[in-house]
């Protein structure tokens, strides 16, 4: 990627350094805590699926009981492996017994640490091997498939009914979509458990459940096989159950996950500590599973003005990147989010969009950037919206974006109809092809509006990062520095699910994932 913007490299380096320090400051304490969902995620990785008679997921049942018993501080795994050691049953069976009341937490006898640790590591090793197998299957399918051309076409389905979603996902894939996301029910992110089984009753989207993942995965594999491609599936490792959903995605071969370090705090008013702890484990799982994450900076531009606050997106991208790296994600897995949200009525707004998109590209050259379409300023004039989406596609192909969320002509009206997706794919197909090498062709006038805007944005982002490095990210969020949204340090949902680790805490996965990553170094290209 050429340096088309004549950027000041010292500013880039300084920004990255500041972001690193900001991340380090968080990591100074993140390791001291665990959360209910982190433990539930470990449970899920160990095969604890299913629900009890009241419909409560077994992972929740177990974590609640451990919490009541004051044992969660040491983590779920130590208890569970002791139970395995004691009874020889599978984790799933133990969870069921607990739920059925056939087993009490206190019933499990202690055993030598080497013993339960070895068992824990063995169980985790098996779980990891399963995920590795899923990952290997993804890689083999991708190797056999025709490579998608870039930017990749990403569409959403959001009927609320997984069976309808599957039909629509498949149709989208046949129409040419490279990536399909199943949008979640409006309320799911605030549920402190993951619903179970196939669902057909969501508003604004469909519940993320492991069974739903499977159903849509199968539909997309079918479409992929029919067309000789590999269709990527996306869901949301976000909200109060970030790591659990990552675990489910790792098992069901999801390919991407919306997964941001700050989104939950800002947009769902989730407790800060909860979110920072959750995102870490969640991302470790994604990293290990070879899942690409999508961060949510685009959302900032829906609550603030995209022209005025464009630099906050960049500052946040630097932070999200550093946090992601610290959870083991490779740059190639970090799909940083940004968006085409400048008011279309702005004179030379298109030049400003070009500047921002090109800047993201140059600042994060290896990131599969996730570019979000115009949403805020589009209206019920579907023709106009279709056109604005076309300009968005043009900027994307000009600036080398990778993950292109296609704008829907009915964005201002309803979650997409089947024809809306078709038209959006047609739109992108036309623009990407008709302007394929436009980016190679164009040079921005030195000192012109595009370069000037880019320099301004970088400078502002760098200043913001320097400030945050001083005050800390939590304070920055208290002051509303992102998305104009203020959150208190102790407030927000899910705070009670944060648990200070005991010295005896153990979770085999982080170490295991790290070791595997070291071994596999160089496997990700």
């Amino acid at each position: 990627m050429a340096n088309k913007l004549d950027l000041d490299r010292t500013k880039i380096d300084l920004s990255r350094k500041m972001a690193g320090k900001i991340a380090d400051r968080l990591h100074a304490w993140i390791g001291d805590y665990t959360t209910t969902t982190t433990e539930r995620a470990a449970a899920r990785l160990l095969g604890i699926d299913g629900i009890d008679a009241a419909g409560v997921p077994l992972a929740n049942v177990m974590v609640e009981k451990l919490q009541q018993a004051g044992l969660l501080e040491r983590g779920l795994v130590p208890w569970l492996s002791r139970a395995v050691v004691a009874g020889g049953e599978t984790p799933r069976e133990i969870a069921q017994a607990l739920a059925d009341g056939k087993l009490q937490v206190q019933d499990v006898p202690d055993c030598p640490e080497e013993k339960w640790r070895a068992t824990a590591d063995g169980l985790a090793e098996k779980a990891a091997a399963q995920i590795s197998a899923v990952r290997a299957e993804r890689e083999s399918r991708i190797a056999k498939a025709a490579p998608p051309s870039k930017p990749m076409l990403y569409v959403i389905v959001a009927t609320g009914n997984v069976y309808e979603d599957a039909v629509q996902a498949k149709a989208a894939a046949l129409q040419g979509a490279d990536i399909v996301a199943v949008i979640r029910h409006t309320g799911q992110s605030l549920l402190d458990y993951v619903p179970y089984g196939p669902t057909s009753e969501g508003f604004g989207g469909t519940y993320a459940t492991q069974e739903n993942f499977r159903i849509v995965r199968a539909a997309l594999d079918e479409a992929g096989e029919e067309t000789g491609r590999y269709i990527r599936l996306v869901n949301y490792a976000s909200g109060l159950c970030m790591p659990e959903i990552s675990a489910m995605g790792a098992m069901e071969r999801l390919d991407m996950m919306l997964n941001d370090a700050m989104y939950g705090i800002l947009f769902r008013d989730i407790n800060m500590r909860r979110t920072f702890v959750d995102q870490h484990f969640s991302r470790m799982i994604n990293a290990f599973a070879g899942i690409i994450i999508n961060t949510g900076e685009d959302n900032y531009l829906t609550t603030t003005d995209a022209f005025d606050k464009g630099y906050t997106v960049l500052a946040s991208q630097f932070i999200n990147e550093q946090l992601a790296l610290r959870s083991g994600l490779k740059e190639e897995q970090i799909g940083l989010g940004h968006a085409f949200e400048i008011n279309p009525a702005m004179e030379d707004g298109l030049l400003m969009e070009i500047a921002q998109a090109q800047l993201c590209r140059e600042l994060f050259p290896k990131s599969p950037l996730k570019y979000m379409p115009p949403t805020k300023h589009v209206t019920g004039n579907i023709f106009k919206t279709y056109l604005i989406n076309g300009m968005y596609n043009l900027v994307a192909v000009m600036t080398g974006q990778e993950i292109q969320l296609l704008g829907m002509l009915t964005e201002a009206i309803h979650t997409p109809f089947i024809s809306d997706r078709y038209l959006s794919i047609d739109n992108a197909g036309y623009i990407f092809n008709n302007a394929r090498h436009l980016g190679d062709e164009l040079i921005y006038a030195p000192g012109g509006k595009v370069q000037t805007r880019a320099a301004y944005l970088l400078n502002e982002a760098c200043n913001m990062l320097q400030e945050i490095e001083k005050i800390g990210l939590e304070t920055a969020m208290e002051r509303g520095m992102f998305a104009d949204i203020k959150r208190t340090r102790e407030g927000g949902k899910g705070g009670s699910g944060v648990v200070k680790k005991d010295s005896g805490y153990y979770n085999p996965f982080p170490g295991l994932f790290g070791a595997h990553a070291l071994a596999a170094e160089g496997r990700l290209s």
Binding site: G160, K170, A171, T186, G204, I418, Y422
Partner: protein
Amino acid sequence: MTVDLGKVKTYGDTLNDGAMQVSFTLPVPAGDEAREAARQIALKMGLESPAVTEMADLGAGFTFFVLYGKCTHSVDFASIKIPKQQQKIMNFKEVNSLIKSELGRKVVVVAACTGSDAHTVGIDAIINMKGYRGEYGLERYPEIEAYNLGSQVPNAELLARAVELGADAILVSQVVTQKNIHLENLTELVELAEAEGLRDRVLLICGGPRISHELAIELGYDAGFGPGTLPNHVASFIAVELVRRNRP
């Protein structure tokens, strides 16, 4: 060209030509039969000479159509009467001085985006200090005490807070409308308010991109505000209506 307002028809390039554009998807595979099915749908809708101008295979057995035809229906425009918020729209200053002079006390407003809806931009535009499109939000009004409870607030909680704060007006925003979830939510709020005997003591106002004053009235609200609403529109309504109710 004189339009007969009793029989207004759609217009393409000639009065009463009835021209109309339609697009839709049918869950049948593309082909001549699908095209004919599309034409038949159009005919049933009362479109004459329907012409399918685009037929696109959407895959998986769906077909998308663009179609033009001549609509045979007409409407009696002359007799359409729309319930309107009668009072004139005042500006920031006018609202404040009306409240001051006529009520002589601060007006308490409680606002939220209810149910599972988390779209706060609309209600924030009305409430927050900085306002919207150059119009200050209600928080800035010296004569209004505005509480913005944020998003995903359950209806019951909203009512409880309103009672607690002695609200004169409750403002509810509903943006997600899939499967008419907004209608459900809004109806529930009215019913709760009635059940708790609150309904007559407070102005119930709703807003959102698919809300109209007419719809709001139908649902049992005092007013409804749609796209493009500015804070002073809402403030005007509240002020005038409270003053009116204040008078014997």
